[in-house]
Amino acid sequence: SSVAKQDVLKVDQKNKQITWGVKADTRLFGLENIRTGKLEGFEIDLAKAMTKEILGPNGKAVFVPVTSSTRVPLLKNGNIDAIMATMTITPGREKQVDFTKSYFDAGQSLLVKKGSPIKNIQDLNKPGKVILGVSGSNSVKNVAKYAPKARVLQLSDYAQAMTALKSKQGDALTTDNGILYGMASENPGYEVVGGNFTKEPYGIAVNKNQAPFRNKLNWALERLEKNGTYNRLLLKWFGNVKGFNYQEMKR
Protein backbone atom coordinates (compact mmCIF):
# COMPACT_ATOMS: atom_id res chain seq x y z
CA SER A 1 0.00 0.00 0.00
CA SER A 2 0.92 3.65 -0.14
CA VAL A 3 2.00 3.53 3.50
CA ALA A 4 4.87 1.23 2.67
CA LYS A 5 6.25 3.58 0.07
CA GLN A 6 6.28 6.65 2.27
CA ASP A 7 9.35 7.52 4.22
CA VAL A 8 7.87 7.75 7.70
CA LEU A 9 10.79 9.73 9.07
CA LYS A 10 10.47 12.42 6.40
CA VAL A 11 6.73 12.70 6.88
CA ASP A 12 7.07 12.91 10.65
CA GLN A 13 9.78 15.51 10.44
CA LYS A 14 7.62 17.58 8.18
CA ASN A 15 4.53 17.27 10.43
CA LYS A 16 6.60 17.65 13.58
CA GLN A 17 4.92 14.69 15.20
CA ILE A 18 5.38 10.97 15.77
CA THR A 19 2.38 8.71 16.36
CA TRP A 20 3.08 5.96 18.86
CA GLY A 21 1.04 2.84 19.52
CA VAL A 22 1.15 2.32 23.27
CA LYS A 23 -0.55 0.32 26.02
CA ALA A 24 -3.28 2.03 27.99
CA ASP A 25 -4.15 -0.70 30.47
CA THR A 26 -0.74 -1.79 31.78
CA ARG A 27 0.53 -0.31 35.01
CA LEU A 28 4.07 1.12 35.00
CA PHE A 29 4.35 0.93 31.19
CA GLY A 30 1.27 2.60 29.81
CA LEU A 31 -1.92 3.24 31.75
CA GLU A 32 -4.60 5.83 31.33
CA ASN A 33 -4.88 8.12 34.33
CA ILE A 34 -8.56 8.24 34.94
CA ARG A 35 -8.38 11.62 36.64
CA THR A 36 -6.70 13.40 33.75
CA GLY A 37 -7.43 11.07 30.86
CA LYS A 38 -3.70 11.20 30.01
CA LEU A 39 -1.54 8.15 29.46
CA GLU A 40 1.22 7.56 31.97
CA GLY A 41 4.08 5.11 32.28
CA PHE A 42 7.66 4.37 31.45
CA GLU A 43 7.00 3.80 27.79
CA ILE A 44 4.98 6.99 27.52
CA ASP A 45 7.75 9.07 29.05
CA LEU A 46 10.39 7.38 26.95
CA ALA A 47 8.39 7.94 23.78
CA LYS A 48 7.97 11.61 24.63
CA ALA A 49 11.69 11.99 25.24
CA MET A 50 12.58 10.25 22.00
CA THR A 51 10.15 12.41 20.05
CA LYS A 52 11.79 15.58 21.37
CA GLU A 53 15.16 14.11 20.65
CA ILE A 54 14.29 13.43 17.02
CA LEU A 55 12.03 16.37 16.17
CA GLY A 56 13.38 18.97 18.52
CA PRO A 57 11.59 20.77 21.36
CA ASN A 58 8.51 21.52 19.20
CA GLY A 59 8.05 17.89 18.25
CA LYS A 60 4.83 16.30 19.42
CA ALA A 61 4.25 12.72 20.53
CA VAL A 62 0.75 11.47 19.66
CA PHE A 63 -0.42 8.35 21.47
CA VAL A 64 -2.85 5.75 20.17
CA PRO A 65 -3.79 3.03 22.64
CA VAL A 66 -3.34 -0.46 21.20
CA THR A 67 -3.90 -4.03 22.31
CA SER A 68 -1.87 -7.05 21.36
CA SER A 69 -4.48 -7.81 18.69
CA THR A 70 -4.53 -4.39 17.12
CA ARG A 71 -1.00 -3.12 17.30
CA VAL A 72 0.38 -4.73 14.14
CA PRO A 73 -2.60 -4.08 11.84
CA LEU A 74 -2.58 -0.46 12.98
CA LEU A 75 1.09 -0.20 12.16
CA LYS A 76 0.65 -1.78 8.77
CA ASN A 77 -2.29 0.45 7.92
CA GLY A 78 -0.28 3.51 8.85
CA ASN A 79 -2.47 4.58 11.77
CA ILE A 80 0.66 4.56 13.92
CA ASP A 81 4.31 5.07 13.09
CA ALA A 82 5.82 2.88 15.77
CA ILE A 83 4.76 0.42 18.44
CA MET A 84 6.12 0.81 21.95
CA ALA A 85 3.86 -1.56 23.84
CA THR A 86 5.78 -4.15 25.89
CA MET A 87 6.53 -6.01 22.68
CA THR A 88 9.30 -8.57 22.95
CA ILE A 89 11.75 -8.88 20.09
CA THR A 90 11.51 -12.38 18.63
CA PRO A 91 12.76 -13.88 15.38
CA GLY A 92 9.20 -14.79 14.38
CA ARG A 93 7.98 -11.25 14.77
CA GLU A 94 10.96 -9.90 12.89
CA LYS A 95 9.54 -11.51 9.78
CA GLN A 96 6.61 -9.11 9.90
CA VAL A 97 8.06 -5.94 11.42
CA ASP A 98 11.44 -4.37 12.11
CA PHE A 99 12.62 -3.78 15.67
CA THR A 100 14.94 -1.21 17.13
CA LYS A 101 17.44 -2.40 19.66
CA SER A 102 15.98 -3.25 23.03
CA TYR A 103 14.79 -0.34 25.17
CA PHE A 104 13.97 -2.42 28.23
CA ASP A 105 15.37 -5.78 29.24
CA ALA A 106 12.57 -7.44 31.08
CA GLY A 107 13.01 -10.90 32.46
CA GLN A 108 10.27 -13.43 32.66
CA SER A 109 9.37 -14.82 36.06
CA LEU A 110 6.60 -16.57 38.00
CA LEU A 111 3.99 -15.36 40.46
CA VAL A 112 2.57 -17.93 42.90
CA LYS A 113 0.59 -18.03 46.11
CA LYS A 114 2.83 -17.77 49.15
CA GLY A 115 3.70 -21.22 50.41
CA SER A 116 3.14 -22.83 47.06
CA PRO A 117 5.34 -25.87 46.36
CA ILE A 118 6.31 -24.24 43.09
CA LYS A 119 9.70 -22.61 43.37
CA ASN A 120 10.82 -22.35 39.77
CA ILE A 121 9.89 -23.11 36.19
CA GLN A 122 11.06 -26.74 36.43
CA ASP A 123 8.46 -27.42 39.12
CA LEU A 124 5.83 -26.61 36.55
CA ASN A 125 7.10 -29.00 33.93
CA LYS A 126 4.71 -31.77 34.94
CA PRO A 127 1.46 -33.01 33.46
CA GLY A 128 -1.49 -31.47 35.23
CA LYS A 129 0.23 -28.20 36.02
CA VAL A 130 -1.44 -25.11 34.62
CA ILE A 131 0.35 -21.87 33.88
CA LEU A 132 -1.56 -18.64 33.37
CA GLY A 133 -0.47 -15.94 30.96
CA VAL A 134 -1.75 -13.10 28.89
CA SER A 135 -2.63 -13.81 25.30
CA GLY A 136 -0.41 -12.15 22.78
CA SER A 137 2.55 -11.95 25.12
CA ASN A 138 5.78 -13.63 24.25
CA SER A 139 6.13 -15.06 27.74
CA VAL A 140 3.54 -17.75 27.14
CA LYS A 141 5.52 -18.96 24.15
CA ASN A 142 8.62 -19.25 26.31
CA VAL A 143 6.86 -21.33 28.94
CA ALA A 144 5.98 -23.81 26.28
CA LYS A 145 9.71 -24.19 25.74
CA TYR A 146 10.76 -24.35 29.40
CA ALA A 147 7.85 -26.36 30.73
CA PRO A 148 6.44 -28.27 27.75
CA LYS A 149 4.44 -30.68 29.91
CA ALA A 150 2.38 -27.94 31.54
CA ARG A 151 -0.84 -26.59 30.11
CA VAL A 152 -0.98 -22.87 29.36
CA LEU A 153 -4.12 -20.77 29.69
CA GLN A 154 -4.02 -17.39 28.02
CA LEU A 155 -6.32 -14.65 29.28
CA SER A 156 -7.11 -11.22 27.90
CA ASP A 157 -5.38 -9.04 30.45
CA TYR A 158 -3.22 -9.11 33.56
CA ALA A 159 -6.04 -8.52 35.99
CA GLN A 160 -7.99 -11.45 34.57
CA ALA A 161 -4.93 -13.66 34.76
CA MET A 162 -4.24 -12.55 38.34
CA THR A 163 -7.84 -13.22 39.35
CA ALA A 164 -7.73 -16.60 37.65
CA LEU A 165 -4.65 -17.38 39.75
CA LYS A 166 -6.53 -16.36 42.87
CA SER A 167 -9.47 -18.58 41.95
CA LYS A 168 -6.99 -21.43 41.45
CA GLN A 169 -7.50 -21.74 37.73
CA GLY A 170 -3.75 -22.15 37.46
CA ASP A 171 -0.68 -22.94 39.58
CA ALA A 172 1.39 -19.95 38.55
CA LEU A 173 1.15 -16.77 36.55
CA THR A 174 3.96 -15.92 34.22
CA THR A 175 4.90 -12.71 32.54
CA ASP A 176 7.56 -10.05 32.66
CA ASN A 177 8.92 -9.43 36.12
CA GLY A 178 8.15 -5.72 36.29
CA ILE A 179 4.45 -6.45 35.92
CA LEU A 180 4.60 -9.41 38.31
CA TYR A 181 6.19 -7.31 41.07
CA GLY A 182 3.48 -4.73 40.62
CA MET A 183 0.78 -7.35 41.10
CA ALA A 184 2.56 -8.93 44.07
CA SER A 185 2.54 -5.58 45.87
CA GLU A 186 -1.24 -5.34 45.44
CA ASN A 187 -1.81 -8.88 46.59
CA PRO A 188 0.17 -9.57 49.75
CA GLY A 189 -0.59 -13.29 49.69
CA TYR A 190 1.40 -13.77 46.49
CA GLU A 191 5.10 -13.71 45.66
CA VAL A 192 7.45 -13.73 42.70
CA VAL A 193 9.63 -16.88 42.61
CA GLY A 194 12.27 -18.59 40.53
CA GLY A 195 14.16 -15.53 39.32
CA ASN A 196 14.24 -14.62 35.66
CA PHE A 197 14.31 -17.66 33.47
CA THR A 198 14.42 -15.78 30.18
CA LYS A 199 15.38 -12.37 28.94
CA GLU A 200 12.55 -10.44 27.37
CA PRO A 201 14.07 -7.57 25.45
CA TYR A 202 11.33 -5.05 24.51
CA GLY A 203 11.84 -3.37 21.15
CA ILE A 204 10.10 -0.58 19.24
CA ALA A 205 8.46 -2.04 16.15
CA VAL A 206 8.28 -0.17 12.86
CA ASN A 207 7.21 -1.18 9.40
CA LYS A 208 9.57 -3.02 7.11
CA ASN A 209 11.58 -0.85 4.71
CA GLN A 210 11.73 2.07 7.10
CA ALA A 211 15.44 1.85 7.80
CA PRO A 212 15.94 5.62 8.15
CA PHE A 213 13.23 5.85 10.77
CA ARG A 214 14.48 2.84 12.68
CA ASN A 215 18.04 4.13 12.64
CA LYS A 216 16.87 7.46 13.92
CA LEU A 217 14.98 5.77 16.76
CA ASN A 218 18.09 3.77 17.70
CA TRP A 219 20.10 6.94 17.61
CA ALA A 220 17.66 8.75 19.87
CA LEU A 221 17.57 5.87 22.31
CA GLU A 222 21.35 5.85 22.60
CA ARG A 223 21.41 9.58 23.20
CA LEU A 224 18.89 9.25 26.02
CA GLU A 225 20.89 6.44 27.55
CA LYS A 226 24.04 8.52 27.40
CA ASN A 227 22.59 11.73 28.82
CA GLY A 228 20.99 9.97 31.81
CA THR A 229 17.38 10.54 30.83
CA TYR A 230 16.86 6.81 30.48
CA ASN A 231 18.07 6.07 34.00
CA ARG A 232 16.02 8.91 35.40
CA LEU A 233 12.84 7.45 33.86
CA LEU A 234 13.78 4.00 35.10
CA LEU A 235 14.09 5.33 38.63
CA LYS A 236 10.84 7.27 38.33
CA TRP A 237 8.78 4.25 37.38
CA PHE A 238 10.54 1.25 38.89
CA GLY A 239 12.39 2.74 41.85
CA ASN A 240 9.51 2.04 44.20
CA VAL A 241 8.48 -1.39 42.95
CA LYS A 242 9.17 -3.77 45.79
CA GLY A 243 11.45 -6.66 44.84
CA PHE A 244 12.34 -5.18 41.48
CA ASN A 245 16.05 -4.55 41.09
CA TYR A 246 16.13 -1.50 38.90
CA GLN A 247 19.84 -0.96 39.51
CA GLU A 248 20.53 -3.97 37.30
CA MET A 249 18.59 -2.40 34.45
CA LYS A 250 20.47 0.88 34.42
CA ARG A 251 22.27 1.73 31.21
Binding site: S69, K95, V97, S135, Q154, A164, K168, Q169
Partner: protein, 212 residues
Protein backbone atom coordinates in the same frame (compact mmCIF):
# COMPACT_ATOMS: atom_id res chain seq x y z
CA UNK B 1 -2.28 -16.93 4.14
CA UNK B 2 -1.48 -20.38 2.81
CA UNK B 3 1.39 -20.76 5.25
CA UNK B 4 -1.02 -20.13 8.13
CA UNK B 5 -3.17 -23.00 6.96
CA UNK B 6 -0.22 -25.31 6.40
CA UNK B 7 1.51 -24.54 9.68
CA UNK B 8 -1.46 -23.88 11.93
CA UNK B 9 -4.09 -26.35 10.80
CA UNK B 10 -3.75 -28.32 13.99
CA UNK B 11 -4.75 -25.59 16.48
CA UNK B 12 -7.36 -24.34 14.02
CA UNK B 13 -9.03 -27.73 13.77
CA UNK B 14 -8.80 -28.12 17.51
CA UNK B 15 -10.47 -24.74 17.93
CA UNK B 16 -13.15 -25.62 15.41
CA UNK B 17 -13.88 -28.84 17.26
CA UNK B 18 -14.18 -27.07 20.61
CA UNK B 19 -16.45 -24.46 19.07
CA UNK B 20 -18.73 -27.17 17.70
CA UNK B 21 -18.67 -29.14 20.94
CA UNK B 22 -19.46 -26.11 23.06
CA UNK B 23 -22.25 -25.11 20.68
CA UNK B 24 -23.87 -28.52 20.77
CA UNK B 25 -23.76 -28.80 24.54
CA UNK B 26 -25.07 -25.27 24.97
CA UNK B 27 -27.79 -25.90 22.39
CA UNK B 28 -29.20 -28.94 24.17
CA UNK B 29 -28.80 -27.35 27.59
CA UNK B 30 -30.37 -24.05 26.64
CA UNK B 31 -33.28 -25.76 24.87
CA UNK B 32 -34.14 -27.68 28.03
CA UNK B 33 -33.61 -24.79 30.42
CA UNK B 34 -35.24 -22.29 28.06
CA UNK B 35 -38.36 -24.42 27.62
CA UNK B 36 -38.57 -24.88 31.38
CA UNK B 37 -38.51 -21.15 32.00
CA UNK B 38 -40.93 -20.52 29.14
CA UNK B 39 -43.38 -22.82 30.91
CA UNK B 40 -42.80 -20.94 34.16
CA UNK B 41 -43.52 -17.69 32.36
CA UNK B 42 -46.97 -18.82 31.22
CA UNK B 43 -47.92 -20.43 34.52
CA UNK B 44 -51.21 -19.68 36.21
CA UNK B 45 -49.42 -18.55 39.34
CA UNK B 46 -48.10 -15.02 39.58
CA UNK B 47 -45.14 -15.94 41.73
CA UNK B 48 -44.00 -18.67 39.33
CA UNK B 49 -44.34 -16.28 36.41
CA UNK B 50 -42.29 -13.75 38.33
CA UNK B 51 -39.48 -16.23 38.91
CA UNK B 52 -39.52 -17.09 35.22
CA UNK B 53 -39.36 -13.51 34.08
CA UNK B 54 -36.67 -12.49 36.56
CA UNK B 55 -34.46 -15.27 35.24
CA UNK B 56 -35.08 -14.28 31.65
CA UNK B 57 -34.61 -10.55 32.19
CA UNK B 58 -31.40 -10.98 34.16
CA UNK B 59 -29.70 -13.26 31.70
CA UNK B 60 -30.74 -11.50 28.56
CA UNK B 61 -29.80 -8.03 29.74
CA UNK B 62 -26.22 -8.69 30.83
CA UNK B 63 -23.41 -9.14 28.30
CA UNK B 64 -22.42 -12.74 27.79
CA UNK B 65 -18.80 -11.84 28.45
CA UNK B 66 -19.67 -10.66 31.93
CA UNK B 67 -21.64 -13.84 32.64
CA UNK B 68 -18.89 -16.12 31.36
CA UNK B 69 -16.23 -14.20 33.29
CA UNK B 70 -18.37 -14.50 36.39
CA UNK B 71 -18.42 -18.26 36.06
CA UNK B 72 -14.72 -18.46 35.28
CA UNK B 73 -13.45 -16.15 38.00
CA UNK B 74 -15.99 -16.14 40.81
CA UNK B 75 -17.44 -19.65 40.90
CA UNK B 76 -14.04 -21.29 41.65
CA UNK B 77 -13.48 -18.90 44.56
CA UNK B 78 -16.60 -20.02 46.39
CA UNK B 79 -17.97 -23.18 44.83
CA UNK B 80 -15.87 -25.45 42.69
CA UNK B 81 -13.01 -25.56 40.27
CA UNK B 82 -14.19 -25.12 36.73
CA UNK B 83 -12.36 -25.12 33.41
CA UNK B 84 -12.56 -22.20 31.03
CA UNK B 85 -14.38 -24.38 28.53
CA UNK B 86 -16.93 -25.42 31.14
CA UNK B 87 -17.35 -21.88 32.50
CA UNK B 88 -17.83 -20.48 29.00
CA UNK B 89 -20.22 -23.23 27.99
CA UNK B 90 -22.33 -22.84 31.13
CA UNK B 91 -22.42 -19.08 30.70
CA UNK B 92 -23.40 -19.45 27.07
CA UNK B 93 -26.08 -22.00 27.97
CA UNK B 94 -27.70 -19.78 30.58
CA UNK B 95 -27.44 -16.69 28.41
CA UNK B 96 -28.97 -18.44 25.40
CA UNK B 97 -31.65 -20.14 27.48
CA UNK B 98 -33.10 -16.72 28.32
CA UNK B 99 -33.55 -15.99 24.62
CA UNK B 100 -34.89 -19.45 23.95
CA UNK B 101 -37.40 -19.03 26.78
CA UNK B 102 -38.70 -15.91 25.07
CA UNK B 103 -38.82 -17.66 21.70
CA UNK B 104 -40.62 -20.73 23.01
CA UNK B 105 -43.06 -18.60 24.97
CA UNK B 106 -43.90 -16.68 21.82
CA UNK B 107 -44.30 -20.01 20.03
CA UNK B 108 -46.72 -21.30 22.63
CA UNK B 109 -48.71 -18.08 22.44
CA UNK B 110 -48.84 -18.35 18.67
CA UNK B 111 -50.66 -21.69 18.78
CA UNK B 112 -54.30 -20.71 18.45
CA UNK B 113 -56.39 -20.82 21.57
CA UNK B 114 -58.72 -23.28 19.89
CA UNK B 115 -56.13 -26.02 20.11
CA UNK B 116 -55.98 -25.81 23.88
CA UNK B 117 -59.74 -25.56 24.19
CA UNK B 118 -60.23 -28.51 21.87
CA UNK B 119 -57.92 -30.62 23.97
CA UNK B 120 -59.46 -29.55 27.28
CA UNK B 121 -62.97 -30.17 26.02
CA UNK B 122 -61.79 -33.55 24.78
CA UNK B 123 -60.96 -34.46 28.40
CA UNK B 124 -57.20 -33.84 28.48
CA UNK B 125 -55.73 -32.08 31.49
CA UNK B 126 -53.87 -28.82 31.04
CA UNK B 127 -50.53 -30.60 31.34
CA UNK B 128 -51.51 -33.29 28.84
CA UNK B 129 -52.75 -30.66 26.41
CA UNK B 130 -49.40 -28.88 26.70
CA UNK B 131 -47.42 -32.03 26.21
CA UNK B 132 -49.33 -33.66 23.34
CA UNK B 133 -50.84 -30.73 21.49
CA UNK B 134 -49.45 -27.30 22.30
CA UNK B 135 -45.72 -27.86 22.71
CA UNK B 136 -45.32 -29.99 19.55
CA UNK B 137 -47.05 -27.27 17.53
CA UNK B 138 -45.19 -24.49 19.31
CA UNK B 139 -41.87 -26.14 18.50
CA UNK B 140 -42.75 -26.32 14.86
CA UNK B 141 -43.48 -22.60 14.85
CA UNK B 142 -40.28 -21.76 16.68
CA UNK B 143 -37.94 -23.82 14.55
CA UNK B 144 -36.93 -20.86 12.38
CA UNK B 145 -36.33 -18.45 15.28
CA UNK B 146 -34.61 -21.24 17.19
CA UNK B 147 -32.38 -21.79 14.20
CA UNK B 148 -31.39 -18.15 14.37
CA UNK B 149 -30.72 -18.53 18.07
CA UNK B 150 -28.52 -21.47 17.30
CA UNK B 151 -26.55 -19.50 14.76
CA UNK B 152 -26.14 -16.74 17.34
CA UNK B 153 -25.06 -19.36 19.80
CA UNK B 154 -22.34 -20.65 17.51
CA UNK B 155 -21.06 -17.13 17.01
CA UNK B 156 -21.39 -16.30 20.71
CA UNK B 157 -19.33 -19.34 21.59
CA UNK B 158 -16.42 -17.08 20.70
CA UNK B 159 -16.77 -15.85 24.27
CA UNK B 160 -14.71 -18.92 25.16
CA UNK B 161 -11.75 -16.99 23.81
CA UNK B 162 -11.94 -14.73 26.86
CA UNK B 163 -11.93 -17.55 29.39
CA UNK B 164 -9.23 -19.69 27.78
CA UNK B 165 -11.75 -22.14 26.35
CA UNK B 166 -9.55 -23.17 23.39
CA UNK B 167 -12.22 -22.44 20.82
CA UNK B 168 -11.78 -21.19 17.30
CA UNK B 169 -11.52 -17.53 18.24
CA UNK B 170 -9.03 -18.31 21.03
CA UNK B 171 -6.78 -20.22 18.69
CA UNK B 172 -7.23 -17.50 16.09
CA UNK B 173 -6.11 -14.84 18.56
CA UNK B 174 -3.04 -16.87 19.45
CA UNK B 175 -2.09 -17.46 15.85
CA UNK B 176 -2.64 -13.81 14.99
CA UNK B 177 -0.45 -12.69 17.87
CA UNK B 178 2.12 -15.25 17.11
CA UNK B 179 2.51 -14.74 13.39
CA UNK B 180 1.42 -11.10 13.44
CA UNK B 181 -0.54 -11.91 10.27
CA UNK B 182 -3.69 -10.57 11.83
CA UNK B 183 -5.95 -10.08 8.85
CA UNK B 184 -5.19 -13.35 7.06
CA UNK B 185 -5.66 -15.27 10.28
CA UNK B 186 -9.01 -13.71 11.07
CA UNK B 187 -10.05 -14.20 7.49
CA UNK B 188 -9.48 -17.93 7.85
CA UNK B 189 -11.23 -17.95 11.20
CA UNK B 190 -14.18 -16.17 9.58
CA UNK B 191 -14.37 -18.75 6.84
CA UNK B 192 -14.35 -21.54 9.42
CA UNK B 193 -17.24 -19.93 11.28
CA UNK B 194 -19.13 -19.59 8.01
CA UNK B 195 -18.58 -23.28 7.36
CA UNK B 196 -20.64 -24.00 10.46
CA UNK B 197 -23.19 -21.20 10.31
CA UNK B 198 -23.95 -20.71 6.61
CA UNK B 199 -25.23 -24.23 5.90
CA UNK B 200 -27.19 -24.00 9.10
CA UNK B 201 -28.85 -20.79 8.09
CA UNK B 202 -29.70 -22.06 4.62
CA UNK B 203 -31.14 -25.20 6.14
CA UNK B 204 -33.20 -23.07 8.48
CA UNK B 205 -34.53 -21.00 5.63
CA UNK B 206 -35.42 -24.18 3.80
CA UNK B 207 -37.24 -25.50 6.86
CA UNK B 208 -39.02 -22.21 7.31
CA UNK B 209 -40.35 -22.44 3.76
CA UNK B 210 -41.33 -26.06 4.19
CA UNK B 211 -43.21 -25.43 7.41
CA UNK B 212 -44.94 -22.29 6.21
Amino acid sequence: MLDIITTQWHPLLNGLWNTILCSLIALVGSLIIGTFFALLEISKYRIVRLIGSIYVEVFRNIPLLVIAMGFFLIVPMYITKISGFAAGTIGLTLYTSAFIAETVRAGINSVEGGQLEGALANGLTHAQAMRYIILPQAFRVVIPPLGNQFINLVKNSSVLAFVAGFDLMYEGNLIANDTLQTMPTYFIVGVLYLIITLPLSYYMRHLEKKLA
